[in-house]
Symmetry: C2
Subunit: 254 residues, 2 copies
């Protein structure tokens, strides 16, 4: 049995709480957040504390809090030599105060309020100070997911950059597509299937092989027509930048 | 029964051939391409012609050929007053020679060789000169898909621009993610789940609500760290451009 305490009340805290509470081998001993927010509707108020000095004993303390809070909160913890982990993609293991054993428990996924996550296929990047903690974090992640990877802070930060491209920036392209449809009174739903297929395709072929479109074909007439169609300056700029980048990558300079 | 002739031997021609041949209400009477290429391994060579003058009678001639070939090939067709359609997202119905009845049969999807398409959920944008042809194209699309939309050439060209953003440009972001992983010897597969979730999420919430990441949070420390991590100039440029665009859109100017 692994005893867990979750600190934080944001999206990751809530998703981890929901996932752990149905795992027989895991007990969520307590949760902490400053406002005493319940992590789900069924949680008992007495399982939440708003006072770090009231934290119980546990095998692992999960800091599911904002990047900038990891260091100060880890410093304020009123104990030493226990296992304290953060869940951040971009932060080094070193931001946790070294008075405790340190670790990282990073789920490589995008979390939203109100959208359930099936953790089974979510890669967990774990890291720790020592082999005993590594084994514990590996077990803990293994209860949730089939994909557990020991990853150093440096490699994790690289993965995080790549994740920003394929998730955050991709979603911004979706939002541009949404804006274009909205401007012309076209339901965005018409693009849903295309978006899904675009994402699923890269499981079957590398993205370089999946590239299509006017830029790749060097179809200057369509490119010009598209630039004339776009009415928003930032959309035109993205269109030109991507077109140039695709043509440079695949050897067809404008 | 609708008699169809497919002209072309590219991805769309092959995918339409494969899809139509199992539809009882559709007969593929013949195919045409300049080199006599079979559209699948089971096709009989005598069902292909390389000579436009040998084209048989059919209810609809589908020009599944490159955008620039639509006009010249439609001009070379040795008959008049039949229904001739193209499958292009970006081209107007008007590029087809008006000696025949004209139409558009555009499947809003990304096609690749060797990756099967389930057309059932693929939106078909159809357009025609007259109500009789419109009904025929609507039936034909309806045999393949549950989603058939009558769409004007103007609206289709808008959808096509939006599709370039959510498909072509998105795939380029995936390829940047792939390059970053490869440079640092990280398997790209670790990002597959995130990419899938990013795409599926927009079915449950508009992309503006799904936006996350350092740019949205105005997390300048992570943004700076990421820019320092990236070693390729064009990657840095994309990172800065997207970060600025996201911050402008959501009201947090750099």
């Amino acid at each position: 049995m692994i005893n867990v305490i979750i600190l934080g009340s944001g999206k990751v805290a809530k998703h981890l709480y929901t996932a752990f509470k149905v795992i027989p081998e895991v007990t969520i001993r307590q949760c902490y957040n400053r406002k005493g927010i319940l992590l789900d509707d069924a949680q008992a108020q007495e399982d939440i504390t708003t006072d770090l000095s009231q934290l119980k004993n546990a095998d692992v303390y999960i800091l599911a809090i904002s990047d900038d809070s990891i260091q100060p909160v880890s410093e304020q913890l009123p104990f030493t030599n226990r296992l304290v982990v953060h869940v951040s993609g971009g932060k080094s293991i070193d931001v946790i105060d070294p008075k405790n054993n340190r670790g990282v428990f990073y789920a490589l996924q995008t979390f939203s309020h109100g959208k359930e996550i099936n953790f089974e296929q979510v890669p967990f990047c774990i890291e720790s100070d020592n082999p005993v903690d590594q084994k514990l974090l590996s077990s803990l992640a293994g209860f949730l997911s089939k994909k557990v990877y020991p990853i150093s802070s440096h490699k994790r930060s690289i993965i995080h950059v790549a994740a920003v491209f394929v998730n955050n920036f991709t979603n911004h392209l979706f939002s541009i597509g949404h804006d274009i449809c909205q401007e012309h009174h076209i339901p965005f739903e018409i693009l849903h299937g295309l978006i899904e297929e675009t994402a699923l395709k890269i499981k079957e072929m590398p993205p370089d092989k999946a590239q299509t479109g006017p830029a790749l074909r060097n179809d200057t007439k369509t490119i010009e027509k598209h630039l004339n169609t776009l009415s928003v300056a930032s959309q035109k700029e993205f269109y030109s930048t991507f077109t140039k980048a695709i043509q440079t990558k695949y050897g067809k300079e404008l």
